[in-house]
């Protein structure tokens, strides 16, 4: 009988263990991709380098915080020539604006494992409010936050001058993210 007592004690701890707060981004397991249309052709690419400051407790979504910073020069469009081009002044102008960021102002539960992150997306010195629905999936000691949202590149002056017309590179850019975070202390 006595031997079972530690088990009972452990059982009592489980609710506390479930209320884990995810803080540490796992960059190798995470991905940040984008999709757009170029003359009717769907193109995609990704960013290799990004960091995140996260704090998410599924029991307390109102207290959740998220900030994601993206190294724009780490873009991979699938073509070296295009990677170089999008760093130039008409596009990201990475010399002046090396990073893009998203800062969540609220994370609202939508029921089940679905949430909605609202916040400011800042690229090239311009900011816009965006809303990104996401799915939270706990996987052992980690959890993934995946979802997508769209924005218009014209709102951020991405692709100026001769690139501005949307008939070659479409205005709508879709971002697909899958952020994997582990529980912090």
């Amino acid at each position: 009988m006595k031997k079972r007592l530690p088990w009972l004690a452990a059982l009592a701890l489980i609710p506390a263990a479930q209320a884990v707060e995810y803080r540490e981004l796992q960059p190798a397991a995470s991905s940040l991709g984008f999709q757009y249309r170029q003359m009717g052709v769907t193109m995609d690419g990704k960013f290799r380098k990004f960091s995140a400051q996260l704090s998410f407790d599924p029991d307390k979504p109102a207290a959740a915080r998220a900030r994601i910073d993206v190294e724009l020069a780490s873009i991979d469009t699938g073509s070296a020539e295009a990677d170089q081009e999008v760093g130039s002044k008409p596009w990201f102008h990475t010399a002046a604006y090396p990073q893009a960021s998203f800062v969540a102002s609220s994370i609202k539960p939508l029921g089940g494992n679905r949430y909605e992150a609202s916040g400011k997306l800042s690229i090239k010195g311009r900011s816009q409010d965006i809303v990104a629905p996401l799915t939270y999936t706990p996987q052992g000691k980690q959890a993934s936050f995946s979802g997508s949202f769209s924005f218009r590149r014209s709102d951020f002056a991405i692709g100026e001058g001769s690139w501005a017309a949307p008939d070659i590179v479409a205005n709508e850019i879709r971002i697909q993210f899958n952020l994997v975070a582990s529980g912090g202390k």
Binding site: G40, V41, S79, E85, A165
Partner: protein, 176 residues
């Protein structure tokens, strides 16, 4: 009446002739352009036209199979006969192989071909920059071969018309 090519064969020949030269010129020109919206536009047009040439060449080959070409003049030496047949055969091979190599190159480079921006062609191979580079070399080499054959083809036609004064060229000319 002397044997002539069918009207369909003549129409196909004279659609494809300027199309091939146009695509060759466009290909050489656009390749050296710096990246710009115009360059992407030209690449898209080049690819759309290339797919169209492939389909026309395929149709032309099928037509030719059902409607054989008129025979060469009886006095044609066996050696020249061989050269003529080899050149024509190779032109057909290239009219199919060049668009195919371009299509595969596009897939390997990660730029799917969407015919007229409407009909997506499947990517038979995945994105692979090294293979894309090899296919680009192949596409380029095949085009140099095409250019050489076209020069020979036109030179031979003109020689027949102006020097031999036979009807080899005339049987492929539209009748007005």
């Amino acid at each position: 009446m002397r044997p002539r090519y069918t009207r369909t064969a003549i129409v196909l020949h004279w659609i494809l002739a300027p199309a091939l030269f146009g695509l060759l010129a466009l290909g050489f020109y656009m390749h050296d352009l710096p990246l710009s919206p115009e360059k992407l536009q030209l690449y898209a047009w080049h690819k759309w036209a290339g797919v169209s040439v492939f389909l026309l060449a395929l149709f032309r080959l099928g037509w030719r199979w059902r409607h054989p070409a008129p025979p060469l003049p009886e006095q044609t030496p066996a050696m020249l006969r061989g050269v003529a047949h080899a050149t024509h055969g190779l032109l057909y091979v290239l009219m199919l192989a060049i668009p195919l190599s371009g299509w595969l190159m596009s897939s390997a480079k990660g730029f799917q071909t969407v015919w007229f921006g409407v009909l997506p062609l499947p990517d038979l191979i995945g994105r692979n920059p090294a293979l894309g580079q090899q296919l680009q070399s192949l596409h380029f080499s095949l085009n140099l071969l095409l250019l050489a054959l076209l020069i020979g083809h036109i030179g031979a036609a003109l020689k027949h018309h102006f020097i031999d004064r036979d009807d080899i060229l005339r049987r492929m000319l539209p009748r007005f």
